[in-house]
Amino acid sequence: MKRIIEIKRVIEWFFQRITGVVLLIGLIVHFQTMHYSGAGQISYEAVFARLSNPYWIVFNIVFLLSVTYHGFNGLLGIMPEYVHSHKMQKVLEGVLIVVAVTVVSLGVYILTV
């Protein structure tokens, strides 16, 4: 059990950097598409066209997953610096994971329907 928790800590640190790099690429693409590819990229038609394109769907889902993992993992990592009670830490950890799963589900739902 202790071993698994230790490996989990290593994974958390490692994946924070990996998702960071993925996000860097994702954000460049995202901003390039939204703001710097000429006007009309955020119109209903343009967004809808992207959402029916399998490449964009994959991109959006990978992007969504890495943002959520990175953001919530980051928050989980700094939480013990502000919350000192062990019990409260466990509770908040649970809450944050539930919220993160909700965010991903909502995001996928928005994208695919």
């Binding site: 928790i5 230790e6 490996i7 800590r9 290593v10 640190w13 610096e81």
Partner: protein, 237 residues
């Protein structure tokens, strides 16, 4: 000669429940050190001023204090490098016992948690266990730590969470993990990769700024992090 104003945060639990500030004007030579000023105050102005010092040559680590908002050794800080007003406070984040003297036991407790000793069951050779210069080089910097506590006391991660091992204990772990004569590196690594260990280091570099021995503490911790990833994730069968 110049006149220095020593602004010292004083605390005497027998007299008051809160600290107070005391000012002393002291004639100092440019070539003197901060510690000389403290000794002058204690000898000639106020014998109740309490501070730690022992070697006066930057090797015992007793005289670490917060100097103008930055930790350092009083015996290694030259008056010529100081402004006219010098603010001295006890090291942050450790409990204050009196004036500039803090209780270092939390610091040493963290140190004890990383197995700060060489583990090697092989029968020792007639003389010392020899090391190649290359192997020695890996731990050369980390060996020079004098355990003054400046680094851990400067770390925002430690301020926020007193259970964090802190840069000093982690550097000690490095010193033995990367020692080629040590046989317990794996076990020791496991003692520092928990939630109050290595990952609390956010690369803030305050420890490197203050280390009186100019040890690249954060760089060493970063090497430990890479070792943990390598050993625990990438090299697992």
């Amino acid at each position: 000669m110049k006149t220095c104003t020593f602004n010292i945060k004083r605390f005497d639990p027998e007299k008051a429940s809160t600290p107070r500030w005391a000012k002393f004007s002291v004639e100092m030579e440019q070539t003197e050190r901060l510690l000389d000023g403290l000794i002058k105050i204690k000898d000639n102005m106020d014998g109740t001023l309490t501070f730690r010092r022992s070697c006066a040559h930057g090797i015992c680590g007793s005289c670490a204090v917060k100097i103008n908002g930055k930790n350092g050794l009083a015996c290694q800080t030259l008056i010529k490098d100081m402004p006219d007003t010098i603010t001295l406070e006890p090291l942050e984040a450790y409990p204050v016992i009196k004036d500039l003297v803090v209780d270092m036991s939390p610091f040493f407790e963290k140190n004890d948690k990383v197995m700060p000793y060489l583990v090697n069951d092989e029968t020792p050779p007639d003389r010392e266990r020899l090391q190649s210069p290359e192997d020695q080089h890996k731990i050369l910097q980390s060996i020079t730590c004098i355990m003054c506590g400046s680094c851990t006391s400067s770390c925002p991660g430690y301020w926020a969470n007193k259970d964090y091992l802190g840069p000093s204990a982690l550097l000690k772990a490095y010193r033995f993990i990367f020692d080629t004569r040590d046989n317990a590196s794996g076990e020791r690594l496991e003692k520092i990769i928990h939630n109050n260990g290595l990952w609390r280091c956010r690369s803030i570099y305050n420890c490197v700024e203050v280390c009186p021995k100019e040890i690249d503490i954060t760089g060493h911790l970063s090497k430990l992090k890479r070792l943990a990833v390598k050993k625990k994730l990438l090299e697992r069968k």
